[in-house]
Structures are given as structure tokens and as C-alpha cells.
Symmetry: C2
Subunit: 114 residues, 2 copies
């Protein structure tokens, strides 16, 4: 359990990032497991650049980290972030989004190793 006090200024930054349906869902999915960009593109009804831009915002703020493996880029929650306890506390309250990921896996067609 998170006992820390959140910096108010920092909280507004994090809230702004989470105040978007796509980004908030991405974060909850990443709480379930790390994830390749192509999987996220499949899940949402928006273009690939749009997903990339959302991921960049989350990464610029340090909320997620990227790791390139071969042709693919994987994103994961950044557990080293000072904001991680805040993020975790919030994500824990949200309904599971893992099923979205499973649906994409089921459907097949992606070549990433997830």
C-alpha cells in the first residue's frame, strides 16, 4: 500500500496524462504485462501514429519505459519512476483490461513475441 504523499504539482501532471481514455487504458494494460506497440495499435480504434504519440507522452513523463527488441518496441510501466506509487495506486482501482490483450492474441496475425 502506498503511504506517500503525492506532490500536488506532480499529481496534476500525472492526472493530465491519465485523463485520456486511450492513455489510461494503455497504462492499465501495461500493468497486466509489458506490451508491443503493434498490439496496442490493434486494440484501439485510432491510427498507429496516434498510439506512438500517446506512448511518447507517457515515456517523456517517465511513466513508461521502452525497450527495443529486434524489430519491435516493447513498453512497460516504469517502476523506477518517483510517480510509480501514485500510478500504481490509481491503476489498482481500475477494471482489468487484460482481456483486450488476450483478444488480440487470440485473433493472431501479429509476429511479435508477446
Amino acid at each position: 500500500m502506498d503511504k506517500s504523499i503525492w506532490d500536488l504539482e506532480r499529481a496534476t501532471v500525472v492526472f493530465k496524462l491519465l485523463a485520456d481514455r486511450t492513455r489510461l487504458t494503455i497504462m492499465k494494460i501495461l500493468e497486466y504485462r509489458e506490451c508491443c506497440v503493434c498490439e496496442l495499435v490493434e486494440i484501439f480504434q485510432v491510427s498507429q501514429p496516434s498510439i506512438s504519440q500517446h506512448l511518447r507522452k507517457l515515456r517523456d513523463a517517465g511513466l513508461v519505459q521502452e525497450e527495443k527488441r529486434g524489430q519491435w518496441t516493447y513498453y512497460a510501466l516504469n517502476e523506477e519512476s518517483n510517480d510509480f506509487p501514485m500510478v500504481q495506486t490509481i491503476l489498482q482501482q481500475l477494471p482489468d483490461q487484460g482481456t483486450k490483450l488476450k483478444a488480440v492474441q487470440q485473433k493472431g496475425g501479429l509476429h511479435c513475441s508477446s
Copy 2:
């Protein structure tokens, strides 16, 4: 303690409202006690209409409730809101802002009964 699961869509709405320094601070102040508009105007470095507009957004979303008493309008957290548990969980993590209110009281000059 809040055990409820937050609706994801609703969470983005609340985060958007709290993703502003002024509004987030107002909410934390109102957690301390209900408050007259004129007190809030004193606390922040923005114009009175700006405060009114922030309050309206919070009220339109049901996060706060207004009550007119005589010449003054008092705002308080709306504990009846479905979002109140979420709001409360968040506010509890933020640093106290009650001192801002006390500073205004000390300074005097306001005629409201707070």
C-alpha cells in the same frame, strides 16, 4: 477505505478536472472545510471570473455543491456524488492546503462568515 472499482471512462473525466493546479488545490481546500468564493479568490493569483469558471466545471461534474447564503456562495465537496469515493481517495494523498485558508482568515478583510 475505498474498495470500489472506478469506472474507467468516469476516471478520465475526474482526472481531467483534477489535472489543473487551481482546481486540484480548491478540491483539497474543500476537503478541509467548505469555503466561500471570496476566500478562494483571495488564495489564488487569478481573477474572480477564473475561479468562478473553475467552480462551475467542478459543480457541473457533480464534484462540488454550491449553497447560497445571503450574499455569499459557499462551495463544499459533494459527498453524494458517485465519484466521491474516488475523489476522497485521491485527496487523501495530497498535502494539506488548510494553511492557505488560515492565512486568508488571519489577513482579514473578508465579510463572509467563514
